[in-house]
Symmetry: C2
Subunit: 200 residues, 2 copies
Amino acid sequence: MLKHGILGLINNGDKTGYEIMRVFRDSLDHFWTAQTSQIYRELKTMEKAGWINETHVPQSGKPDKNVYSITPAGTDELLKWLREDNIPAGIRNPFLMKIFFMGELPVEENIAFFKAFSEASVFPDEGRQASVNADMYRQAVDHPEKAVYWKLTIEFGRMYEKMQREWCSYCLRELEGLQRMKEAQERHDTITADTEEEET
Amino acid sequence: MLKHGILGLINNGDKTGYEIMRVFRDSLDHFWTAQTSQIYRELKTMEKAGWINETHVPQSGKPDKNVYSITPAGTDELLKWLREDNIPAGIRNPFLMKIFFMGELPVEENIAFFKAFSEASVFPDEGRQASVNADMYRQAVDHPEKAVYWKLTIEFGRMYEKMQREWCSYCLRELEGLQRMKEAQERHDTITADTEEEET
DNA sequence: TGGGTCATGTAACCTGTTACATGATTAG
DNA sequence: CTAATCATGTAACAGGTTACATGACCCA
């Protein structure tokens, strides 16, 4: 998957590993993250597979760089991948894994958790968003229709965050209901205990 | 992460690797998937770490089984993990990765893709849902408040699917707009070409 | 003088996937 | 008779994380 992402970026113009790292960090981090260590490793295997060519470029004042360009085999691979049925098979949401087992902690603690969480995600990082826009609008000048697809991924992120905030409110309502139930239960238990004491 | 999921399940009662596999397959697959090969490997490392104890139980008519039970160190680890700040660091959405590079394919093909996608996700697998409910309601009889947290994860899944369908409609509107723009452009080009022909 | 950017990587490790292997019992 | 269920795993590989290393140049 990362291989194909890198391939797609090189398809939009020759790039060094370092440049690829910056694109992931600055513009794609709302759906994918990649470490340099991984990028350099993938580039080597992609070159061996014949998808890209490496050109060593000596520089003065800066470290030398390796520039990668896509090959015809690479273009074929990219189009093949785009047309493939890559339905995400294994779902994995670490966040929900935690929620599922939260019953082990006191309700109060979990209510606090959700409150902190919904407050943290109210403002979806305006700063980063702006720099992403700047970067992508520049691209959009050269390839106006490619920007449409980028917009679709951004909109997904926006809708996801909105949904998450709504879900958070729902969770708080549910947990506050649970808390009231427990409080009522405790009051009832105390009264029953008192009555039993009176009876004895 | 999977380690802690397994730990949480064993915390709700002693289990074999096989039973754990079934819980993942039948009740947690809306947020996590796990292969038996991985489960058995994790169980061994967890035992070495002292989180769980293994008891070999010979059986007749069936293969022998290894039953795992949580240790005090395991309980500590579970609570520690639940209280930790496990903000999902690396986001990874293979689906959006594909969308981002879709500009390489013709718009018509992408419209067809989104149409197929939104049709595929209209019915969220009623059969599985029912069996999940049956399983969890049984659990809920013993621990009614734990079921609340399970309900929260189910609701997340529901809201996520709804959002995805809405996003899909948005994508189709955008791409159909793009298509109309391209058609208009083509008509314009043809007219211009005709005019130029007339002029030459 | 210290931190950021440019630019490359290695090594060890952890996590997840795919394919394979065994073998009895039980239900359709 | 065949397929599913119960129950265990190994081996190889693919993908991702963490930590470390180097070194010059530029800006405050």
